[in-house]
């Protein structure tokens, strides 16, 4: 604190007299619309927009920006930040994006806090009330001990890939959503490890360390195409929209959803594991929110409601889909080998027909959400048939 003590003007009668004398009798302006120049995403300006939209000190080469002129300090060599060359897609207004979940900071951390508290209570009751004892020991030690741990690396790698997409994103509401999506990925990895630590406390034979998991991630054929995909998307792609599309629109919507939902969530119950489905349901929520926002960005903003460059953008999204679908296909195909290692084989769940149905669910959902809106034609049956060879 400063060395001066000071009087609080709001509650000091003398100061308030002076202040009130300086305040006009009537408000000087009747219009209180916030950021009146900004296009509204909904009928009325939302709090989500009020606290972020057009906060970016932009440059007038970024369409939709309020600024006049350019950035003042450049990178060594002269490259500016916020440059539209950071992606191949083009927008007539980069400030058009709205996250359908309207997550600004407060609702975002509030949601996560509630999830954290629910997780804490669920884990406690799960551990204390005997649910834990139902779990198949082989599932625990082999699948959760190794492969569930390997999923940490998948989530961590995808989290890492978000850094430069946050950095490069060309407007404030985009940056907000992408940082939240990256933070969720980090969270998803940490929650898996949290569950594994609890298992380590409850079961003397469960090793919560990541040694075996990392080995599987690095060497087990089940994970190799996934690892290569993640590495590439993390370090090998510089276009930030391409990255986001490849992560949330393709890889995580097909491979990620399959691993989390069709494999861990579905099969855990079969093995008496009621905790994993709970933990993964949070990651599924995060993906749902990320893919909703990605749709709002890539489909709604860049194609459907983009008056000039929609066709151009569609071409790029199709090309990127074509580029990243094979890697995703390979990752899923390799992953299906995991079914051979399952402690329990149950007709109607782990049999070939059921797994194929699971793959089909995933692929059809993907096609509906991401392939059809960009008129991407692909042969779902060929895709499924190829993936099933991994089973």
């Amino acid at each position: 604190m400063s060395s001066n003590s000071f009087v609080r003007g709001m509650v000091d009668p003398y100061r308030q007299t002076i202040i009130q004398a300086a305040i006009p009798e009537q408000p000087l302006e009747s219009k209180r619309d916030h950021i009146p120049f900004a296009k509204r995403g909904w009928r009325r300006l939302t709090e989500y927009e009020a606290v972020m939209l057009h906060a970016q000190n932009s440059v007038d080469s970024v369409p939709g920006s309020q600024e006049v002129g350019e950035s003042v300090q450049k990178w060594p060599g002269g490259r500016p930040n916020y440059s539209i060359e950071s992606t191949a897609v083009i927008a007539g207004n980069w400030f058009y994006f709205r996250d359908p979940a309207k997550r600004w900071f407060m609702p975002y951390v509030k949601q996560k806090t509630e999830e954290g508290q629910t997780a804490e209570r669920t884990m406690k009751s799960w551990a204390e009330s005997g649910d834990a004892g139902m779990m198949n020991a082989d599932w625990r030690n082999q699948i959760l001990g190794t492969h569930y741990g390997a999923l940490v690396y998948n989530e961590y790698g995808l989290f890492s890939a978000h850094s430069t997409t946050v950095y490069s994103a060309l407007s404030d509401l985009l940056k907000t959503w992408i940082s939240e999506a990256g933070f969720d990925k980090n969270d998803a990895g940490q929650m898996i490890q949290m569950e594994r630590i609890l298992l380590g406390k409850l079961f003397a034979d469960f090793d919560p360390s990541l040694a075996a998991a990392k080995q599987a991630w690095m060497q087990d054929p089940i994970w190799q195409p996934a690892r290569e995909f993640v590495q590439h998307i993390w370090m090998g792609v510089y276009d930030w929209v391409e990255q986001l599309w490849a992560i949330h629109g393709i890889y995580d919507h097909i491979f990620g959803q399959f691993v989390r939902r069709e494999f861990f969530q579905r099969l855990a119950g079969l093995h008496g594991d009621t905790l994993t489905p709970f933990i993964q349901s949070q990651a599924l929520t995060y993906h749902q929110q990320a893919s909703d926002a990605l749709q709002a960005f890539c489909v709604k903003m860049l194609i459907d409601e983009e008056p000039v460059y929609g066709a151009h953008n569609r071409r790029y999204l199709r090309a990127w889909t074509k580029r990243y679908l094979p890697g995703t296909q390979a990752a899923l195909k390799a992953f299906l080998a995991i079914y051979k290692t399952l402690p329990l084989q149950v007709e109607g769940i782990t049999c070939k027909a059921s797994v194929e149905a699971a793959v089909r669910r995933i692929v059809n959902d993907w096609a509906r959400r991401f392939a059809e809106p960009i008129d991407y034609r692909f042969d779902a049956e060929a895709f499924i048939a190829d993936v099933m060879q991994g089973y």
């Binding site: 604190m1 400063s2 001066n4 000071f6 009087v7 003007g9 709001m10 202040i19 300086a22 305040i23 006009p24 009537q26 408000p27 000087l28 302006e29 009747s30 219009k31 916030h34 950021i35 009020a50 000190n57 309020q66 006049v68 002129g69 950035s71 300090q73 450049k74 060594p76 002269g78 500016p80 407060m106 951390v109 509030k110 996560k112 804490e120 406690k124 799960w126 551990a127 961590y156 850094s163 430069t164 946050v166 950095y167 940056k175 940082s179 990256g182 933070f183 969720d184 980090n186 969270d187 940490q190 490890q193 949290m194 630590i197 406390k201 919560p208 360390s209 990541l210 690095m218 370090m235």
Partner: protein, 530 residues
């Protein structure tokens, strides 16, 4: 015993059948989350060498982070939307202060936004998972801080008696000659360059050095002038800053493993200090002392304690072990801390129609305070303000403009090319040593040698059109209108040279000044006298 082990022990004690996991136990595994592969590096690599084994001291998981932060959010918004609403807080603020908050909240919002992008850059460049986790938390914090600064403007726009400018500063700032200075220091200084250089600008200087004088002093001055809105929000921002300062410290720790790169560090620190100081020192000082009716501690004094003694002495002292010395430009900064904000205020008054806010010239009471705390102030600035007032500074029918007054007397206003801030070589009392250099047929003005040196070394980093070049040829009232600086009656200006509700200036009054934005580098052909 490490805190994490204690926490585990405590948890075990509370739960004999261990059924919970402390976030710290999860954090312990973070360093194992990464793996090596051939291509792995930063996409924006640094010239330094950031150690993959660097630890991070706050050790928050995502869920734990959210828990802490949402508690703060609840408290803050509870106070704002419940407590302060009931007290009619928006109408208890002295207009001088309320008006300056239009700039302060917005300019700091720009700073928070730059910090967001800069932390994302560090998250890319750092290789240690713990460090990445810490930088990531800062990214999300800075989203919070943008939202918070914006909430101050949003709250004011709903509850204060003059919402004009609070509602639209994100647009209006485009014509503010001070705003490019914010962009340079915060909007780009935090993120447009080597990640470690950005970290030094953001965390080691702006946060570790200027957060205290900024937030502590600002909230005291705010409260003194009837504003409880700003302290409610800014003190809550402050609670995140300790982690950010620690991030900055860890950045330095992480690069110590490679002595070869240490040669860059002193230069980067010197440049970063000057870059941040150059904007923050005058701007904050002017906001506090010219945006207040009730004064608190003189800015030069606060600055001296926080910047000179605390930061340059104690904080940098901790880095001495790595061979870092306090910046060479510190002595000039100290001189600026006394005078630069008065220089900037003079220019803000001269250019008031472009600021978007209602300003009031210092009156007798202010003048006494200024003279008592800055001996020599009256002879230099006080007399100018008295003359301006007599010539009709406040009177909408006068056609008077401080800027025109200056130009007619040969007091050119130039843009310092490195900081992008305006300065007047002949009327400034800060650490000025102007120079005018030519490159590729274009002339550039510099207010002092530190910025000049930065430009000489890396001119390609400062290739842009400055304020005068952008708007050269624009008639003043047209410019204000184009930027949205007119009230809903279609003619009265948002900016005013006084605080009264009568005699407010309109577009026509502004036209009467008959001022077209010049490019002083061309018309004045000004050369230094010495």
């Amino acid at each position: 015993m490490a805190a994490s082990n204690l926490a585990v022990k405590q948890a075990l004690k509370n739960n004999p059948a261990p059924s919970s996991v402390d976030p710290q136990e999860v954090h312990k595994w973070l360093q194992d989350f990464t793996w090596d592969f051939k291509e792995k590096a930063g996409k924006y690599p640094t010239k330094y060498d950031m150690d993959v084994n660097t630890r991070e001291q706050f050790k928050l998981t995502a869920k734990e982070y959210a828990r802490m932060e949402s508690a703060k959010e609840e408290r803050q918004f509870g106070t704002l939307l419940d407590g302060l609403d009931r007290l009619d807080a928006g109408n208890k603020v002295h207009p001088r202060w309320g008006e300056f908050m239009k700039l302060v909240a917005n300019f700091l919002e720009t700073g928070e936004y730059g910090a967001l992008a800069g932390s994302a850059l560090l998250w890319d460049t750092a290789q240690s998972p713990e460090q990445r986790n810490g930088y990531l938390a800062q990214v999300i914090d800075e989203v919070r801080h943008v939202n918070q600064c914006a909430s101050v403007s949003y709250y004011y726009s709903k509850h204060y008696y003059d919402p004009a400018g609070f509602t639209n500063m994100r647009q209006l700032r485009a014509i503010n000659p001070l705003y490019p200075g914010v962009k340079r220091a915060f909007g780009e200084g935090f993120l447009a360059g080597d990640a470690v250089e950005s970290s030094i600008n953001l965390q080691l200087v702006a946060e570790a050095c200027f957060t205290n004088p900024l937030i502590v002093a600002l909230t005291e001055w705010a409260a003194a002038n009837g504003d409880e809105i700003t302290p409610t929000v800014f003190l809550s921002i402050e609670t995140d800053e300790l982690r950010h300062m620690a991030n900055g410290y860890q950045t330095i720790v992480s690069i110590m493993n490679n002595p070869d790169t240490m040669k860059y560090l002193q230069t980067d620190l010197d440049n970063a200090f000057w870059t941040q100081h150059k904007f923050l020192t005058p701007f904050v000082g002017a906001a506090l002392e010219y945006g207040s009716r009730f004064k608190v501690e003189p800015w030069a004094k606060s600055w001296n304690r926080w910047v000179y003694e605390d930061w340059a002495g104690i904080w940098l002292g901790r880095l001495q072990q790595f061979g870092l010395k306090s910046p060479k430009c510190l002595a000039d900064a100290k001189k600026d801390a006394v005078w630069a904000h008065h220089d900037l205020a003079l220019l803000a008054f001269a250019l008031w129609p472009l600021t978007g806010i209602r300003l009031e010239l210092p009156d007798r009471q202010d003048m006494e305070w200024f003279e008592a705390n800055y001996p020599g102030w009256y002879e230099h600035y006080g007399k100018i303000y008295e003359e301006w007032r007599a010539l009709g500074f406040e009177d909408p029918r006068s056609g008077f403009s401080g800027a025109v007054w200056m130009l007619q007397r040969g007091h050119g206003i130039f843009i310092d090319h490195t900081s992008s801030l305006p300065f007047c070589p002949t009327l400034g009392k800060g650490a000025l040593k102007p120079s005018f250099l030519e490159k590729n047929g274009k002339r550039f003005a510099f207010s002092e040698p530190h910025g000049e040196r930065m430009w000489l070394q890396e001119p390609e980093r400062y290739e842009f059109q400055n304020f005068f070049e952008q708007f050269e040829g624009w008639e003043l009232s047209d410019l204000v209108k184009a930027a949205g600086g007119v009230r809903s009656d279609g003619k009265t200006l948002m900016a005013q040279p006084h605080l009264r509700s009568t005699d407010m200036w309109t577009l026509d009054d502004l036209k009467r000044i008959n001022f077209t934005v010049p490019d002083p580098m061309r018309i004045l052909n000004w050369q230094p006298a010495h």
